[in-house]
């Protein structure tokens, strides 16, 4: 009896979880050569796409294990640099966030484009469907504080911002506001919450990635150009950013296979479109880290 108890205690004491083999080769029914396990994480804007692509990839390659995490672009870049993630997802160029000597260690894989549109409460959207860039800047910098000044109803403007460190906010500020400093407004971490607030607060204006748009809010054109996928792809609508998947150095093995899979027509033509992003293969313009655009 006592022996059993002592034994049980001993087992509990050193009962570490069993090590699972991290590299493949023993999964038996694997039909593909790609095995192993990697972590891809970072940007929450890119997370749904990477997650869906990983599910499909793993269904095809039973020996492969891809874990997809969020945490934000900063987390993605930091973790891929430190080796925690094999793929770091980011809304921004690494050069914009990291020190130059750190950014140079990372290899950029642009997988798709995400565009942002200014959105307003339906009550405002009934009258205001377009804003010039100057009006947009005046609204966000707090110079215009009532919608009647831009042809809307007599309602006070409420700004709904993303956190200062967010990639979506950085993109919107850079390309819709020419980098002008926003006035103080409500800040919310998640795009879903921003949508909820804009839809229920009279006079609210915010900005969202195209994948978040629906009927509860109204989209505003910028300088007469509607934020459609076509206008983004041909370069006439300026507020967009690449979704990057960074690797430390050249990718190999499962990491390379997964990146190739995301860039393949199979994902670009289906999942990327379904999730509301613009396929990288559709883009007719190219932009570098400092914002210079050139035709392809």
């Amino acid at each position: 009896m006592s022996l059993v108890l002592a034994l049980a205690v001993a087992v509990v004491g050193c009962g570490k979880p069993k090590e699972t083999p991290s590299t493949g080769g023993n999964t038996g029914g694997s039909t593909s050569g790609v095995t192993g396990s990697i972590v891809a994480g970072g940007s929450t804007a890119l997370q749904p796409l990477v997650d869906a692509a990983a599910q499909q990839f793993m269904a095809k390659n039973p020996g492969a294990q891809i874990s997809v995490q969020g945490g934000g672009s900063g987390t993605g870049l930091t973790q891929v640099l430190q080796g925690g993630f094999q793929i770091g997802n980011s809304d921004l160029f690494a050069e914009e966030k990291l020190k130059p000597e750190e950014a140079s260690q990372l290899k950029d894989h642009k997988v798709c484009v995400v565009a942002m549109a200014a959105v307003v409460h339906p009550g405002v959207g009934a009258k205001v469907t377009n804003l010039t860039k100057q009006q947009m800047i005046d609204i966000w910098t707090g110079k215009i504080t009532n919608w009647k000044d831009v042809g809307g109803p007599d309602v006070k403007i409420t700004l709904v911002n993303r956190p200062a460190s967010s990639g979506t906010r950085a993109t919107f500020k850079k390309f819709a506001l020419d980098g002008k400093e926003e006035a103080k407004g409500i800040e919310q971490e998640a795009s879903g919450t921003v949508k909820q607030i804009v839809s229920q607060t009279p006079g609210a204006i915010g900005y969202l990635a195209l994948s978040y748009l629906d009927d509860s809010i109204k989209v505003v054109s910028l300088d007469g150009v509607a934020p459609t996928k076509e206008n983004v792809a041909n370069g006439t609508y300026p507020v967009w950013a690449y979704e990057h998947m960074y690797t430390k150095g050249e990718p190999s093995g499962l990491t390379k296979a997964f990146l190739d899979y995301i860039l393949s027509d199979e994902i670009q033509k289906t999942l990327v479109v379904q999730e509301g992003y613009i396929p990288i293969t559709d883009m007719k313009v190219e932009r570098d880290a400092s914002g210079n655009v050139k035709k392809l």
Binding site: M1, A10, E187, Q188
Partner: protein, 304 residues
């Protein structure tokens, strides 16, 4: 001593030693984990002052926040005053709203209607504690914020909305600790009060509540600590505007919501990220102070 006796004695010894090792081991593990977290947060949090050379005084007492301002323009500005004030105001308001309700509910539960209370009120309070904070936050966002906007004016995102949501969240903490404290009172107190001809109201107000005060105070302080540390729910209803509020209907920002807003997007090792750790350290220190206060309040009980 024969062999069988020796065997039994050895077995008993082994049983006791094994048990002792297990118990001491677990206790040591808890202490170790706490220490490790404190050391880690302190190390990260102090980087702002040691490596980035940000003045502690400015960090605590300046309300200028612009972590990306280049050094050539006097940046980065890392003043956390607006956030500390926001945290203090929202948690203070939450306690102000929750404490009276919770204490009265506890009195009802223990003294007025023990059977009815145990069957209905107790599970209701326990249920309140079990609702995930994101549900409180989203309900607050969808129901409370528009209500505040329509009834009281302003944007709806306000100190008031934050205080109400937090108040409901800490109500179970204060109520259950107060109820425990009332229940633990020796029955002789109540009997003596009745024997002297006190009414029920006089007994409760003049004898039972003062006697249970240390426990009730502990409940309030722990409730305050919980309100101070809550991030998710409060973030959704306070608007997160970095300015010092002038009215209860103004939006505010708290330390916790400022941390969650930016933590994932900033790169670790950057001054901005370090400043968020410093704010975490501040929260940790505040929690320590709250726990010390709660322990001091509980000491009062022993003196009685």
């Amino acid at each position: 001593m024969n062999v069988a006796k020796l065997g039994r004695w050895l077995a008993k010894l082994r049983k006791e030693t094994a048990g002792r090792i297990l118990v001491y081991g677990c206790a040591a593990l808890v202490i170790l984990i706490t220490l490790a977290i404190v050391v880690f947060v302190a190390r990260q949090g102090l980087t702002t002052f040691v490596v980035d050379k940000i003045s502690v005084f400015k960090f605590l007492f300046s309300s200028e926040w612009n972590p990306e301002l280049p050094a050539s323009q006097g940046g980065p500005l890392l003043g956390s005053l607006t956030m500390s004030i926001g945290s203090l105001l929202t948690s203070g308001l939450a306690v102000l709203l929750a404490a009276p309700t919770a204490i009265i509910a506890a009195v009802f539960l223990v003294e007025i209607a023990p059977s009815w209370g145990r069957q209905v009120l107790q599970p209701a309070i326990e249920l309140l504690a079990g609702i995930p904070s994101v549900v409180y936050g989203y309900t607050g966002l969808v129901v409370l914020v528009p209500l505040v906007r329509e009834r009281f004016g302003g944007m709806g995102f306000s100190l008031l909305a934050g205080g109400i949501v937090l108040g409901i969240m800490i109500l179970p903490t204060i109520a259950s600790l107060s109820a425990d404290s009332l229940r633990a009172l020796p029955s002789s107190l109540k009997e003596a009060a009745y024997a002297l001809g006190s009414t029920r109201w006089q007994t409760i107000r003049l004898v039972l509540l003062p006697a249970a005060k240390p426990g009730i105070l502990t409940g309030i302080i722990l409730g305050l600590a919980r309100a101070f540390g809550e991030a998710l729910a409060v973030q959704m209803v306070i608007g997160n505007v970095r300015h010092i509020p002038h009215s209860i209907l103004d939006p505010v920002i708290t330390l916790t919501s400022a941390i969650t807003l930016d933590m994932g997007y900033t790169v670790s090792g950057s001054t901005w990220n370090n400043a968020l750790w410093s704010m975490s350290l501040m929260l940790l220190v505040m929690t320590c102070i709250f726990i010390l206060l709660a322990r001091m309040a509980a000491k009062g009980r022993e003196v009685r």
